[in-house]
C-alpha cells in the first residue's frame, strides 16, 4: 500500500452519502484512504489545486457487461467494432481497440477517464465464470465484482419448487463462494430454460417446461434466499418480456413480487430488496411495434410509492452498438427483426445468452421511444437514490456515453435538441417533451456513484469521501459557480468525459483526461456459508447431478482464489 499523500484543495465537493452539496473544501488522502485533511501536511503531500473544479467520489457502476464469455464473443464476432476506436501501445499503456466492445485494457482506461473506479460485471454464467474472472483480473485500474446467474439453474428451480428454501440458500451460498461472485442475478427467469427448447416465457405466471415452476416463484424464492443470506446487494433482475411492446405490465408485476418481502443485509445499508436492471428496456406500452409507446411515467409512479425497489437506467444513447444478454430468446427475436448476425450460447443446466449488433437511430420511432422511456424514469422518479446511471453497457450504448446521458438529465435544452432530431411522432408516445425537471450536480453525484454504492452494500468504503473511505476521487473541470449545467450541458459533458484527475485508492490514474498509471485492483465476492451441515447434504446430492448431467467434474467446477487479482472476500456469517 502506498504511503503517498495527496491533498485536493478548495474543490467544490459533491458527496451525497455525507450530504455534502458543492461545499468548497479540502479532501486528503493517505495510504489509499480518505483521511482528515488535518492529518496531511501540505509539504509532504502532492497538492492538487481544485479551485473552481468539481470533486466527487470515484464513479460506481452497478451494471455493465465488461468481462466474460458473452462480452468476448461480442468482440470476436465484431471486428468492425474493434477497428472503431484504436490507440497504439505506448507510454506504459497497452493498446486499445473497440467502441462498444472494447478490449479489457480500453475498458479500464476509459472508465478511469470518466472518473469511474468501481464497475460491477452484470452477469456471469457459473460454468464460464472462470473466464469472467480471467478478464476482470486483466482489466486495469477498476475494482470489480460479478453477479452470478442463478435463476434458470436446475438445482435452484428444483429446490424452490419443493419449497426447500434452506437448502436453496445453502446451495446459493456455495455457488457464490465457489464462483467468487458478489451477488445473485436473474435474467428472464424461466425463459432461458424454455429457450433450451427454442421457447420463451410470456408472463411471470407462465410455467417453465418440465420444471413446472413460474418466474414469479423463482423471483420470490430468490429474493427470500438473498435476504436469508443477508447479502450486501439485493436480488438483481433482468425481467421477463424485455424489449417488447406492453412489457411495462410485466415490469410492474415483477415489482409487485417484492412487496412485503424482507430487507435484511448483514453487510452494508441498502434499503431495497429488488434491483431491476436497465429499466428502460421494459418500460413500454402499446400493443405492437406500431403502437409502441413509453410507459416510463407509469414505472416512475410505481417507484415513487415503493422505496424497496431500485433501478438502473439502461439509457439509449443513439449509437451503433452490440446487444448482449443472458436473455437468449430475446436476442433471437432481435435478430429476426434487424436481420443482423446472431450469436447464441446456451449453458448447460444454468442459463443462455445471445449477442446481436444494433443501431439505435433517433429517426426510428421505436428507438426514440426507448430513449425517452429511460429519461422519463430518471426524471419522474422523485428519489434519485432509487436511480442509477447505466446504459446497460453495451446494450443501449457504450459506457463512454455516460456524460451524454448526464447532459440530458441536467438540461431540458439538451433534451429538446435531441427530441428535434427524433421521429416526429415521439411527443405522442412519450411525455418526455413536457418534463421540466433538471438534475442538479448533487443528484448527478447520487446517480453516478452514491446510490449504486449504497444499493450494492459497499457504501461503507465506496461512493463517498468521508474519512476511512477508499481514496477513489474524480475531479472534473467544471465550475459550478460560473457554469450552469442546464445552460451549458456540453461543457459538463466534456468535463465528465475526461476527468482532470482520477484517483484510485490513492493512486493518480488519470491526469488531464489521459491515463497515467494503474492502481491496485480488487475483486469483491461474497465469502459465505449458510449452514455447514446443510451444505454438506446439498453437495452430496449435487454429486449425482454433476456425474450425470454436467460435462465437467464437480471437483473442477469451483474457481480457486488465485484467479482473482486483488481477491477481496466479503465475509458474511449467515447463521
Amino acid at each position: 500500500m502506498t504511503k503517498h499523500m495527496i491533498l485536493i484543495k478548495n474543490g467544490f465537493v459533491y458527496d451525497p452519502i455525507n450530504k455534502i452539496d458543492g461545499e468548497k473544501m479540502d479532501i486528503a488522502i493517505k495510504e489509499g484512504k480518505i483521511v482528515d485533511p488535518k492529518k496531511v501536511k501540505e509539504k509532504e503531500a502532492k497538492v492538487i489545486d481544485a479551485r473552481g473544479k468539481v470533486v466527487m467520489p470515484g464513479g460506481v457502476d452497478i451494471h455493465s457487461h465488461v468481462a466474460g464469455p458473452k462480452v468476448n464473443a461480442g468482440r470476436l464476432f465484431r471486428p468492425e467494432d474493434g477497428r472503431r476506436q484504436v490507440r497504439p501501445f505506448g507510454q506504459g499503456l497497452r493498446a486499445e481497440t473497440g467502441f462498444s466492445v472494447p478490449n479489457v485494457f480500453a475498458t479500464g482506461y476509459r472508465y478511469a477517464q470518466l472518473g469511474y473506479t468501481t464497475v460491477m460485471e452484470a452477469a456471469t454464467p457459473p460454468l464460464k465464470t472462470r473466464h469472467t474472472h480471467e478478464e476482470m483480473s486483466d482489466t486495469p485500474i477498476l475494482d470489480q465484482g460479478a453477479y452470478l446467474i442463478l435463476d434458470n439453474n436446475w438445482v435452484i428451480m428444483e429446490y424452490l419448487k419443493a419449497g426447500e428454501y434452506e437448502k436453496c440458500a445453502a446451495f446459493v451460498a456455495w455457488m457464490l463462494r465457489s464462483m467468487k461472485c458478489f451477488g445473485i442475478k436473474s435474467v428472464n427467469p424461466g425463459g432461458d430454460e424454455n429457450w433450451g427448447w427454442g421457447k420463451n416465457i410470456s408472463s411471470v405466471r407462465d410455467r417453465v417446461i418440465y420444471f413446472d415452476i413460474s418466474p414469479a416463484e423463482i423471483i420470490q424464492g430468490l429474493i427470500r434466499v438473498n435476504e436469508m443470506l443477508g447479502l450486501p446487494h439485493s436480488f438483481h433482475i433482468h425481467c421477463n418480456n424485455l424489449g417488447l411492446p406492453g412489457s411495462y405490465t410485466t415490469t410492474l408485476e415483477t415489482f409487485g413480487l417484492s412487496d412485503g418481502m424482507p430487507i435484511s443485509p448483514k453487510v452494508g445499508e441498502r434499503s431495497q430488496n429488488l434491483h431491476v436492471a436497465h429499466i428502460q428496456f421494459y418500460s413500454y406500452g402499446g400493443e405492437d411495434w406500431k403502437t409502441f409507446e413509453s410507459k416510463g411515467d407509469e414505472v416512475a409512479k410505481y417507484l415513487n410509492n415503493h422505496s424497496n425497489i431500485t433501478v438502473c437506467l439502461g439509457q439509449v444513447t443513439f449509437d451503433e452498438t452490440t446487444t448482449m444478454t443472458a436473455d437468449g430468446p430475446f436476442e433471437y427475436l432481435l435478430q429476426s427483426i434487424n436481420k443482423l448476425k446472431w450469436i447464441n450460447r446456451d449453458v448447460e443446466l444454468e442459463t443462455s445468452s445471445g449477442i446481436v449488433p444494433y443501431i439505435y437511430r433517433p429517426r426510428s420511432l421505436v428507438n426514440a421511444v426507448q430513449w425517452a422511456a429511460g429519461l422519463e424514469v430518471a426524471l419522474l422518479t422523485k428519489n434519485p437514490w432509487q436511480i442509477m446511471m447505466s446504459t446497460d453497457h453495451p446494450n443501449a450504448g457504450p459506457f463512454t456515453r455516460y456524460p451524454r446521458v448526464v447532459k440530458w438529465l441536467v438540461s431540458k435544452k439538451a433534451r429538446e435538441e435531441t427530441i428535434a432530431k427524433c421521429h416526429e411522432t415521439l411527443p405522442n408516445r412519450s411525455s418526455i417533451a413536457s418534463i421540466d425537471r433538471e438534475y442538479t450536480l448533487y443528484e448527478v453525484a447520487v446517480v453516478t456513484r452514491a446510490s449504486a454504492a449504497e444499493a450494492l452494500g459497499i457504501s461503507g468504503f465506496k461512493g463517498h469521501l468521508g474519512v476511512g473511505a477508499d481514496a477513489d476521487v474524480a475531479i472534473y473541470d467544471f465550475n459550478p459557480e460560473k457554469q450552469d449545467p442546464s445552460r451549458e450541458p456540453e461543457a459538463l459533458e466534456k468535463a465528465l468525459s475526461r476527468a482532470l484527475y482520477t484517483i484510485k485508492r490513492g493512486h493518480i490514474v488519470v491526469e488531464n483526461g489521459e491515463v497515467v498509471g494503474d492502481a491496485p485492483k480488487r475483486v469483491f465476492w461474497a465469502d459465505i456459508c449458510f449452514d455447514e451441515e446443510l451444505e454438506k447434504q446439498v453437495l452430496d446430492e449435487l454429486h449425482e447431478t454433476f456425474a450425470k448431467y454436467y460435462t465437467v467434474s464437480m471437483s473442477n467446477y469451483p474457481i480457486s482464489e488465485e484467479y482473482l487479482v486483488g481477491s477481496t472476500p466479503i465475509k458474511i456469517t449467515s447463521k
Partner: protein
C-alpha cells in the same frame, strides 16, 4: 514403491478437454493413464518416452550446442528485437497465461501474432463474423439433443471421446436411454469410422459442401431442388431436412471438411445460416470441432486483450486484423516476416512447403518440450514444461468452457512453464527496446 493416483485430470490433447482422467504416478513418472483415449494417453505417456528437450540449444553454422537458459534467452531476445516484422506463432497447445504474455510480447515487438486457428477454424471465425453462430455448451447437447449431425469431421479419429462423452452415447437428462433416444447423421466425402456408427450417412462430393448446404436451405424453405446435388439425391436431402425440422433439439458439429475444402469460410457461413434458418422450426445449434486443446483459449485470450481472435498485426502499434494479409501463412508465403517465435507448435510439419521454405530461411526460436521438425530448423530452442501435465493453467474447451489444467508431475530440471520463459523473454526484449515492461496481470 508408492503410487499416487491423481483424479479428474484434464487431458491436454484435443478440444474435448475431458476432465475425468486418472493418472497414476510413481516416482514422478506417469505409469498409467485411465479413461483417456489413445491420443490423450499418448500425450501423457510421451513425456517419459518421447524425444524430450531438456536443455536450451543454440544452432550456429549448422552445429548445435547446449547453452544456458540465460544465453538462449539473450540470443532469442536479440533476434526478435532486431527483426522488423517478427511472427509469433503457435499458442494453441499451451495455457492461457502463456498466451497473455505472448500478446504483450507481440505488442512490444510490433510483431504479427497468430495461433493455429488460422490453419484450422480460422474460416469458422470469419463465418461467425459474417453471420454469427448459434451454439451452446456440450452438456446442453448431452441432455437435450435428439439429432446429432457430424459434417466434414471424423471424431472417432480426431476427438475419440466426443461421441461417448458429449453427444451420441451418454444418457442425458431428457435423453434417458442414451443413443436409443438419438439419431446420428454423418455427412462426409468418405465413409469414415464415424460414419459407420451413424444411423444415416450422406456422401457428399469433395468440394461441394456449399452446394449441398444451399440445397438443404432451399428445401427447408420449400423451394424445388434438383434431382441430385453434390452427388446426393433429392430424396436423401429431403429426408435429412425433415429429420432436422422435426427434431426437438438438433446439433450440427463440423470440422475441416468445411473449413479446408473449396469455399472454406463460405461453407461454414452456409452451415451456420442453415442452422439459423432451422431455429424458425425447432431448437438447433452448431459447433466447430476445435482441434488443439486450447486453441479456443488462444482465440479467447487474444480477443479480450486485442479485440481480435487470431492474425493480429501490431506493426502500427495498435492491433490490426486482416486474415489474408496478417495470418501466419500470409506473412510466411509472402516472405514478409524476418524472424519467428514458435510456441508449443510445429508449423514445419503442418504448413505448406512454400511457407516452410521461408520459415527455414529466417531466424526461428522454438519453445517446446519435444524435438519436432520445427525445433530442427530453429536457431534457439528453449525447453519447456508441459502445460496440463507439469504446469497448471487455464484452457478453453471447444464450447469455450474454461477448465483449470492440473499439474500431475514435476517437470524435468531446467524446464520452465511457457509463461515463465516468455516473461523473461519479454523483459529482455523490453530492455533492448528501452520500453517499460508491461505488467501481465492475467498470467
Amino acid at each position: 514403491m508408492p503410487e499416487r493416483v491423481v483424479s479428474d485430470v484434464v487431458c491436454p490433447f484435443c478440444g474435448c478437454l475431458c476432465d475425468d482422467i486418472e493418472v497414476v504416478v510413481r516416482e514422478n513418472r506417469i505409469v498409467e493413464v485411465r479413461e483417456a483415449c489413445a491420443l490423450g494417453t499418448a500425450k501423457f505417456m510421451s513425456l517419459s518416452v518421447g524425444e524430450r528437450i531438456t536443455k536450451p540449444l543454440l544452432r550456429v553454422d549448422g552445429s548445435v550446442r547446449q547453452v544456458s537458459l540465460e544465453e538462449a534467452l539473450k540470443e532469442a531476445a536479440k533476434m526478435l528485437a532486431d527483426a522488423e516484422r517478427p511472427l509469433l506463432y503457435g499458442w494453441s497447445s499451451t495455457e492461457c497465461g502463456a498466451q497473455a504474455v505472448g500478446v504483450a510480447l507481440a505488442e512490444v515487438l510490433g510483431g504479427v501474432l497468430d495461433n493455429t486457428s488460422s490453419v484450422c477454424h480460422g474460416p469458422t471465425v470469419l463465418a461467425t463474423q459474417d453471420v454469427g453462430c448459434p451454439s451452446c455448451t456440450l452438456g446442453q447437447v448431452k441432455n437435450r439433443a435428439d439429432l446429432i449431425i457430424y459434417w466434414g469431421c471424423n471424431p472417432m479419429q480426431a476427438h475419440p471421446r466426443h461421441m461417448s462423452r458429449y453427444t451420441t452415447f451418454p444418457r442425458g437428462f431428457f435423453r434417458e436411454r442414451g443413443v436409443k433416444d438419438k439419431k446420428i447423421v454423418v455427412i462426409d466425402v468418405r465413409h469414415t469410422e464415424t460414419a459407420r456408427l451413424a444411423d444415416r450417412f450422406i456422401q457428399v462430393e469433395l468440394g461441394k459442401d456449399y452446394e449441398l448446404l444451399a440445397a438443404m436451405r432451399a428445401a427447408l424453405k420449400e423451394y424445388e431442388i434438383p434431382e441430385k446435388v453434390a452427388g446426393v439425391s433429392r430424396k436423401d436431402i429431403l429426408e435429412v431436412v425433415e429429420l432436422m425440422k422435426n427434431c426437438q433439439f438438433g446439433a450440427l458439429f463440423f470440422g475441416m471438411g468445411l473449413t479446408m475444402s473449396f469455399g472454406k469460410h463460405r461453407n461454414v457461413d452456409n452451415a451456420i445460416s442453415l442452422v439459423k434458418d432451422l431455429n424458425a422450426y425447432t431448437k438447433f445449434i452448431i459447433m466447430p470441432m476445435r482441434g488443439h486443446y486450447n486453441v479456443a483459449g488462444a482465440n479467447t485470450v487474444f480477443t479480450w486483450e486485442t479485440g481480435f481472435p487470431y492474425a493480429v498485426d501490431f506493426s502500427r502499434g495498435y492491433p490490426r486484423y486482416n486474415p489474408g494479409e496478417t495470418a501466419a501463412n500470409d506473412v510466411l508465403q509472402n516472405e514478409e516476416c524476418d524472424a519467428a517465435l514458435i510456441v508449443a507448435s510445429d508449423p514445419v510439419s503442418h504448413f505448406p512447403a512454400k511457407a516452410v521454405k521461408h520459415l527455414a530461411s529466417i531466424p526461428v526460436i522454438s519453445i517446446d518440450f519435444h524435438h519436432t521438425p520445427t525445433t530442427e530448423i530453429s536457431k534457439v530452442v528453449i525447453p519447456a514444461a508441459v502445460a496440463g501435465v507439469e504446469v497448471e493453467g487455464t484452457a478453453y474447451r471447444m464450447d469455450t468452457v474454461p477448465i483449470r489444467l492440473k499439474k500431475v508431475v514435476e517437470p524435468p530440471e531446467g524446464c520452465l512453464p511457457d509463461r515463465e520463459i516468455l516473461r523473461m523473454l519479454l523483459e529482455k526484449v523490453c530492455e533492448i527496446k528501452g520500453v517499460e515492461t508491461p505488467v501481465v496481470k492475467h498470467a
